[in-house]
């Protein structure tokens, strides 16, 4: 089976990996780069457990072909914390117990980051509709939505000019 060399930037670092023509970005991340934080819950783009950010856009890594990643900048859950310092979203998910089993959590965090990157002050409805592509079966979403809104407030506070 012929495989092609793909060059991309993952969490700020240049990477090179081999990808089959039919291989998903998710499989490449998990099997070639061993970044197993992105999860496969369905493989059909319905559950969002594989959410990553590619060139600033939120995508399901299971729906993107690995060779399409050539030349892109990819953000995954492994890069969300900054040198060991948790992102406000990660901090709020922990503070508010917004996870139970934790399997959907990486995808929810990346989708939430993509939201806060473009909307610093989302309403509850905006959070709920943005996250409608990320299934969580444990929490009923209550604490997840609260954590995202509180993380947004934390980020706004941090960015205020002193």
């Amino acid at each position: 089976m012929s495989r092609m060399v793909v060059n991309a930037t993952v969490n700020g670092e240049p990477v090179e990996f081999l990808a089959g023509g039919g291989q998903s970005l998710l499989d490449a991340l998990r099997d070639e780069l061993r970044l197993t934080g992105s999860k496969e819950g369905c493989g059909t783009g319905d559950c969002g457990a594989c959410s990553v950010i590619v060139d600033g856009r939120l995508v399901c890594a299971c729906l993107m072909l690995a060779p399409e990643a050539e030349g892109t900048r990819i953000e995954t859950i492994e890069g969300l914390a900054d040198n060991g310092h948790l992102h406000p979203l990660q901090h709020q998910f922990l503070e508010q117990a917004a996870l139970q089993c934790g399997f959907c959590t990486p995808g929810l965090l990346m989708a939430s980051k993509a939201l806060l990157d473009r909307n610093a002050d989302p309403t509850e409805s905006e959070v709920r509709y943005w996250l409608a592509g990320n299934m969580c079966r444990c929490t009923g979403y209550d604490k997840v939505v609260r954590a995202v809104m509180d993380a947004a407030a934390d980020l706004r506070q941090a960015e205020k000019p002193r």
């Binding site: 934080g37 992105s38 493989g43 995954t76 990660q90 959590t105 509709y129 079966r137 444990c138």
Partner: protein, 756 residues
């Protein structure tokens, strides 16, 4: 301190909301779930599944597949040991191993679409997929039957030639799909109906629904040349997986080590095996580690779900609302093999109410669907849907407030359940009163909206558990739990140990051990872990405290009775001794001089788990154009004994309510005429997403701590899925103007009812 219940006062850790010990791993992507594990030389395993609902397997030809380069092993049911007889304890029930084996790899017949018939291990996923296509299975297609009442009909195709209905005398003359008939009751029901001032009755049905955990089943199995094998997998019980695999492959338990991965949701659905014996059989054949991960389609086709049900209920009551008698018949789908939770449906149906006369009948019925697995309070939500709908009818008929009617009939301590237990430490009345007084219930129903109320019950269980507490040389502590942490139990284990040891929570960590590193434990199921394994943790911590006091007494050369342990420090209360208090750190640092390492392990069989009660209230509206129901406000109250980590207890209430709302409104297994599942994907199965739900308010009732648990905990995980089906449907029925009797109340069904 005795081992009795410690009051709510003076607790320093229990009742707080610390960050869970495994939290950072789970928000950074480091936590290793079932599919994340990788070994050198590992092969990919794939499963060949039946395209038919019901067929005889005439032959399986693997020759072409074996010749494909990269294929290392192929197995069929012939590679299992036919001797897999006997039963294994599995969560809330027992599993007949012969049937578990035949569910993992079909033996003679395939009984549902997706039933596994063969498996292959290959060097690449693509090769494994190609090999599956090369395996030629010849089928003789048989007539199939999907629905429960059709399966009970005299002329229905019979799945198992040797299935004669149990619980019927004399033994039936011919085989049928009715595996068992259960009968339960008391009193004089006929007299109750004869004397009744009011009678309500109804027939109800619910669809089969899936647990819907987001993590598909996954495992890696590695067989060693000496027969010693290791399995890494995501399950609700590493000991359960070990027991089942050992039976199916006829191996000694001690030759199998099961390492629990993090588990991405289970809700009961991971209290059995599907992949593990297959992966180990493949590994045994080729000597290399084999990983198998289900696709989502495979999860829907071949794992879970819980029973769809057909139910009849009839209530007799006095004119002032006292329920005096009830009749109920439950027919539950078991899937392809016997074992629906119908008996649990019978036991729980009226458990919230003090009803003098009861006549309850249940049927466990097989059909050409995947074998059901436990799902959160197995058997209870459907029965509660029927009973709570009937009670709502009674409230309407009598013009009574639905809470007042339930208060009038609520069980209290000392009442006898239909299955013989005596109700104790029950706070159903307080839970009903809390809902009645809640801001939600006190707010008038919004314009165009309706409100529904329902109650629910679950037993909760205890059982066998083990835990260890190790004191590190620097005075920190590691708790070793025997149960996979499915929703934050590492936090509650660490908190209970910290409380008893007098340490800050940050000094206590918790790990989940493999089958070789801790004593046996039952599964993470039955809402048992915080109760039973928690009890083992607290007893181990108590042993540590006793040991620390002995060591302090030895150091001070005083009587142990003169040593007090408080806030993680030993103090000598003998006025004759002028000694400085000894901290945990000081004692641990010099443990070699006082007897060696400080550690304790406790194994026990926890008795006295207390039942839980929940009451939910739901406000919703319906779009008359589309029939779509939107829940706009929801409050769940529950009798929890005492919440160890209240945020995770609230999370159980919220998550259970959300699953129940999905069960009520959207979720169902849809079959076509050919007996094939038409919606085996998340897109078509349609579980609730964030935009479908409102915030879910919670009220934790802590007025009746469980005296049999050191801190008063009751199980909390299952109760919350029992009330929502009826809470939602009672509200929908108000808007529709007619009793909704069939779940899910999909938009099409609601529109059709509204048009009547």
């Amino acid at each position: 301190m005795s081992d009795g219940n410690q009051g709510g006062v003076n607790l320093k850790v229990v009742g707080q909301r610390p960050i869970r010990p495994d939290g950072v791993d789970k928000v950074t992507g480091r936590a290793q779930f079932g599919a994340d594990f990788h070994l050198p030389g590992m092969l990919t395993g794939r499963i060949k599944r039946s395209p038919h609902a019901h067929a005889r397997v005439v032959s399986i030809d693997t020759r072409a597949a074996e010749k494909l380069p990269g294929v290392k092993a192929i197995v069929t049911s012939a590679d299992f040991d036919a001797g897999a007889a006997g039963e294994v304890e599995a969560g809330e029930s027992h599993a007949a191993m012969k049937e578990v084996a035949a569910n993992c790899l079909a033996h003679g017949k395939v009984l549902y679409q997706g039933h596994a018939v063969a498996a292959v291990a290959a060097t690449q996923p693509e090769i494994a997929a190609e090999a599956l296509d090369l395996i030629e299975v010849t089928y003789e297609v048989l007539p199939h039957v999907i629905d429960v009442e059709a399966a009970m009909a005299a002329d229905a195709p019979v799945l198992h030639d040797d299935m004669y209905t149990k619980g019927v005398t004399p033994k039936p003359g011919k085989a049928s799909n009715v595996a068992a008939k259960h009968v339960m009751g008391r009193g004089d029901v006929a007299a109750a109906f004869k004397a009744a001032g009011v009678i309500v009755e109804g027939s109800y049905e619910t669809a089969a629904v899936h647990q819907g955990y987001i993590e598909p089943h996954a495992c890696v199995a590695s067989w060693g040349a000496d027969g010693q094998s290791t399995i890494w997998c995501s399950s609700q019980g590493q000991f359960l997986v070990r027991a089942m695999v050992a039976k199916i492959l006829n191996m000694p338990l001690s030759d199998i080590k099961v390492i629990p991965a993090e588990i991405g949701g289970g809700f009961g659905g991971k209290t059995t095996v599907y992949l593990e014996p297959v992966a180990l059989a493949l590994s045994r054949k080729c000597g290399r580690p084999v990983k198998i991960v289900m696709s989502r389609e495979e999860v829907f086709l071949a794992s879970g779900p819980t029973s769809g049900a057909v139910m009849d209920v009839r209530l007799a009551a006095t004119k002032d609302g006292k329920i005096t008698g009830a009749e109920m018949t439950l027919k539950y789908q078991a899937g392809a093999f016997q074992g629906s939770p119908v008996n649990l449906g019978l036991m729980t149906a009226f458990a919230c109410y003090d009803v003098e006369s009861l006549a309850l009948t249940g049927y466990d019925v097989v059909s050409n669907r995947p074998k059901v697995a436990a799902y959160r309070a197995p058997g209870a939500p459907m029965a509660a849907f029927a009973v709570e709908s009937a009670i709502d009818d009674l409230a309407l008929k009598l013009g009574m407030d639905p809470i007042d009617l339930r208060l009038l009939n609520a069980v209290r301590d000392g009442a006898k359940t239909v299955y013989g237990a005596t109700v104790r430490c029950c706070a159903l009345v307080e839970t009903l009163e809390a809902i009645k007084a809640s801001p939600h219930y006190q707010t008038p129903v919004g314009k165009g909206q309706a409100r529904g109320v329902a109650a629910g019950f679950w037993f909760n269980v205890g059982g066998e558990s083990s835990a260890a507490v190790h004191v590190d040389e620097d005075g920190g502590v590691t708790v070793v739990s025997s149960n996979p942490d499915i929703g934050g139990s590492r936090a509650s284990m660490a908190m209970m140990a910290a409380e008893r040891l007098g340490l800050p929570i940050e000094r206590v960590r918790c790990t989940v051990a493999d089958t070789t590193s801790i004593g046996y434990s039952g599964s993470t199921g039955g809402s048992r872990v915080t109760f039973a394994t928690g009890m083992a943790v607290v007893e181990a911590a108590q042993k540590i405290v006793a040991d620390l006091k002995r060591r302090a007494a030895q150091t001070w050369e005083c009587d142990i009775a003169m040593v007090e342990w408080k806030d993680g420090v030993a103090t000598c209360i003998d006025p004759a001794k002028d000694v400085k208090p000894l901290s945990m750190k000081a004692i641990a640092g010099k443990s070699a001089k006082t007897g060696g390492p400080i550690a304790a392990e406790v194994s026990l069989n926890a008795q006295g788990a207390a039942a839980g009660f929940g009451v939910h209230v739901c406000d919703l509206e319906i779009d008359p154009e589309t029939g779509r129901t939107t829940v706009v406000r929801y409050t769940a109250a529950q009798d929890v004994g005492r919440a160890i980590h209240p945020a995770y207890v609230e999370g159980q209430l919220q998550g259970g309510a959300a699953q129940g709302i999905g069960w009520a409104l959207n979720e169902e297994y849809v079959y076509g005429k050919s007996g094939l599942l038409e919606n085996a994907s998340f897109l078509d199965y349609r579980m609730p997403v964030a935009s479908d739900l409102p915030m879910i308010d919670t009220i934790l009732i802590e007025t009746k701590p469980n005296p049999r648990h050191p801190f008063g905990a009751k199980g909390v995980g299952e109760v919350p899925i029992v009330p929502p089906l009826a809470a939602v449907s009672n509200a929908v029925s108000r808007i529709v103007g007619r009793r909704m009797t069939s779940l899910p109340m999909s938009p099409a069904k609601v529109l059709a009812e509204m048009a009547k």
